[in-house]
């Protein structure tokens, strides 16, 4: 216990950054990878809103979402030394871990959710509106909404049911009553469209 207090005290002296520049997620993750607790705390503050928000969207239940978000952030700390910037940015790496964990959790409660979502799909065939409601007017969020709106209905539904709903593409095919091959290609086509609309890649 005393050790923890000591380490916290040491950390307090490590916060100053040369030039006062706000570090980006990549730099903070690289410092976290070297065991820098102060950098990790900053990284936490920088990404936790996105991490928790995504998990919340997939799991819905606030208590479970907090639990999974905690697991994810501890995992980020633990696996930080294995982060490879050549394979994508820190944010993307962290969100990939968060999504995977949320999906793992949701699949353990799958059958009940399949019923819920089938009802939801049947009730209103317009998931874009759901996104529109929940996404605030910040620029990044507006860009995502605009990009989603450029997809065909089937592309958008396939991407959203998989990503936000945590469903496998087989389940998505069942939910949308569409052939497996079609759903598979719509997911890929949808992502290609989103990637280009959002300027990811180049």
């Amino acid at each position: 216990m005393g050790q923890v207090v000591r380490r916290r005290a040491e950390r307090a002296g490590l916060r100053a950054l040369p030039g006062g520049a706000a570090p980006d997620a990549d730099a903070l993750l690289r410092r976290s990878a070297r065991g820098d607790h102060a950098a990790f705390a900053e990284l936490f503050d920088l990404v936790v809103g996105s991490v928790y928000g995504l998990i919340r969207r997939v799991l819905r239940d606030p208590a479970q979402s907090e639990e999974v978000a905690q697991e994810v952030m501890i995992e980020v700390w633990r696996l930080a030394p294995r982060f490879d910037a050549k394979r994508g940015g820190a944010r993307s790496w962290i969100m990939t871990i968060a999504h995977r964990r949320a999906v793992d959790r949701v699949r353990s409660e799958q059958s009940a959710r399949m019923r819920d979502d089938r009802a939801a799909v049947a009730a209103h065939q317009r998931p874009a509106d759901v996104v529109a409601e929940e996404v605030e007017s910040r620029m990044e969020q507006a860009r995502v909404r605009t990009a989603l709106a450029t997809l065909t209905d089937l592309q958008r539904e396939a991407v959203e049911l998989a990503y936000y709903g945590g469903h496998t593409y087989r389940e998505v095919a069942e939910l949308l009553d569409a052939p497996l091959g079609t759903v598979k290609t719509r997911m890929r086509d949808g992502l290609i469209r989103l990637r280009d609309e959002l300027g990811v890649g180049e």
């Binding site: 928790y52 907090e66 952030m73 995502v144």
Partner: protein, 240 residues
């Protein structure tokens, strides 16, 4: 399936494949550069979809994570890709308590041998063995060490497997009606966990059942054999 395996890149990046399909596709990914590039771009795209859901978490999350991180060892940079059980267990073995891990492996080996002979005592052993396997093969397993006056202990636990195993040795035999009890410390508050008695040699390997929530330290006290809701005795094993 193999003819159009490239088209799985989208579903893969959205985590929309079954475990089996995911393994297949990852084998393909290892040899297909264009899919690798596409998946990386799709992941970044999906991350933007995720970031659009930005929501402030409860304040308790920050304290919980930062406390847990204080006692969570980091993975070593190079062990990815080596694959297999050995690579995953290695980070646990390296820092300390190698002898305790050895004890755990020996005892689990004993369990495996006994199981083939004694069907009637299978249940408890089976639970313990399954917990051991789940934790030892989990990529995210962490180790929390304890010590006290010639006694040693540790808890291995995995957030993804949501279970853990306690290993301890050097424990004295207790009078009838008394038992050792493990406590999981969350934000400095002890939550009751397994109640156990050691072997005649003073050793214990205990499956901890389902642990849904993380914790940052562990301790062991002597309590009533029925277990206690809060620790009343001295710590015989304290966080190391």
């Amino acid at each position: 399936m193999t003819a159009d395996i490239h088209t799985l890149a989208g579903a893969y990046a959205l985590d929309a494949l079954t475990d089996e399909e995911q393994r297949l596709f990852e084998r393909h990914l290892a040899v297909c550069t264009s899919c690798g590039q596409e998946v990386a771009e799709f992941r970044r795209t999906a991350a933007l979809l995720g970031a659009a859901e930005d929501e402030a978490p409860p304040p308790s999350l920050r304290a919980g994570v930062l406390a847990a991180v204080e006692v969570t060892p980091q993975a070593r940079p190079d062990s990815r890709g080596a694959g297999g059980l050995r690579a995953r267990v290695e980070p646990l073995l390296m820092p300390v308590a190698a002898s305790l891990v050895l004890l755990l492996l020996v005892l689990s080996g004993v369990v495996l041998q006994q199981r083939t002979r004694l069907d009637q005592v299978q249940t408890a052993q089976q639970v313990r063995e399954e917990a051991l396997l789940a934790v030892l093969t989990a990529p995210d397993a962490v180790r929390l060490a304890m010590a006290g006056d010639g006694r040693q202990g540790m808890v291995l636990w995995s957030p993804s497997a949501a279970t853990g195993v306690l290993v301890a040795r050097g424990l004295d035999a207790l009078p009838a009606g008394r038992a050792y009890q493990l406590w999981l410390m969350r934000g400095g508050v002890p939550a009751p966990s397994a109640v156990f008695t050691p072997s005649p040699g003073g050793e214990a390997v205990v499956a901890l059942g389902s642990i849904a929530q993380g914790f940052e330290a562990v301790a062991v006290t002597i309590e009533d054999a029925r277990g206690a809701a809060a620790p009343s005795g001295d710590m015989v094993l304290a966080p190391a």
